[in-house]
Symmetry: C2
Subunit: 216 residues, 2 copies
DNA sequence: TCCGAGTTCAACCTTTTGATTGATGCCGGT
DNA sequence: ACCGGCATCAATCAAAAGGTTGAACTCGGA
């Protein structure tokens, strides 16, 4: 990976997006796309099998696959030395998306509305081990640094995301492999941080602040 | 538009997606991409200026533009005879997205996870004036026809709106000058109609179906 | 090395919510 | 005139959620 050529793996469930990334990136002479994956599981497999320098990873993988992009990122980067870098390329820039992805070891985080040049630059940065963040994501992170009180922790954001999906505390505890007590504990902290006193109000507040995604 | 060649306009704010659509569609010999638009407004302009048979229209256009894809679709199809057909190609398949788009006069509705062949087939259908719906969208529409019970009454919608704002049943009863029993009664009806069993899930479901406003 | 924040869990209690059953009055359409 | 859906309310029970206290572990920074 220190030679001139950068070997890429595209992981996205949308054929159109894969074709778009391929079209945009193949015009760079030093990029080679060695594989494509339509599911997160397949991305993890291919990242292990093929020699890959950078994985371009989507976060959302449709209802078909049980694994999401953040989990796949964690699985790929868990190998440590020699593992490919993961550059997340997705549509959403809320804390609920960015934090787990960066937590999972992503080297960069780009939005799909990025122009081709920025995409190519980010790929080169990732290949060299340098971090590449979209401006809005970087802003959000800095904002978190400045006001640490108002920000939710990674785990809290994760829990709140499931609350917003309509899950009960029981269901959340099962999903995250936690005890019911822990989920309630997280929720108490979330409520105090957001200044509310019910799950519905917390979801509303978090949506308004851009902590979780707005869509369904 | 009855000759062999089908003239296309791509409208999407993501350069990567435009490149992907171009790559996928240009491989069809009878397709010609005459223009691309990165905003909804520009799409309306180009649809009027250039001779276009089919517009591939995204619905989400980022915070940059005031107009969304459904509004652009309405503006394009409003010209009536001679206006290009609009084929919506987007990521979301909730009622809140599909219904306004079809209402606005879209000839077809595809999801971005559609394989290239399906995309090409849909473009040809649209060019011929035939409707092309993604299977999941068609299913959803038929489901709506079959079960008109899914529609909430005015009062129920009002209650659910306050639930979405994070109010407790007590607060709702005070706000609407109702007894607590009545609020709970409405909620029971709402839950059965939506097929859920908690207020948070109801809010999520209603948001997904476009029964309540999406913004916070 | 100690401290604080995050994450994890337990036990206990109160309040809220959801489920069930049943009842009344109103209004619109057959 | 009757029926069905809507809106209103009551009572009661079970379940879920929320509040409080206390505690253990990890990990990174002062």
């Amino acid at each position: 990976m220190t030679e001139g050529v950068i070997r890429l793996l595209l992981a996205d469930d949308h054929p159109v997006v894969r074709a778009g990334l391929r079209a945009v990136l193949e015009s760079e002479p030093d990029f080679v796309i060695v594989a494509e994956a339509a599911t997160a599981e397949r991305a993890v497999e291919l990242a292990a099998e093929a020699e890959v320098d950078v994985v371009l990873m989507d976060l959302q993988f449709g209802p078909g696959s049980a694994m999401n992009g953040a989990q796949a990122t964690a699985a790929i980067t868990a190998r440590g030395a020699g593992a490919p870098r993961v550059l997340v390329v997705t549509t959403y820039d809320t804390d609920a998306d960015t934090l787990p992805a960066l937590e999972a070891g992503a080297t960069g985080y780009l939005l799909k509305d990025a122009p081709p040049e920025e995409l190519a630059r980010a790929v080169r940065s990732a290949a060299a081990g340098r971090t590449a963040l979209a401006p809005t994501v970087a802003d959000r992170l800095l904002e978190r640094m400045r006001t640490p009180a108002a920000a939710l922790s990674v785990r809290e954001t994760e829990v709140l995301g499931l609350v917003a999906d309509g899950l009960t505390n029981q269901a959340i505890s099962r999903r995250l492999q936690l005890s019911l007590a822990t989920v309630k504990s997280h929720l108490v902290h979330i409520y105090t941080k957001l200044g509310v006193e019910s799950r519905t109000a917390a979801v509303r507040e978090a949506r308004a602040r851009g902590l979780i995604r707005r869509g369904g």
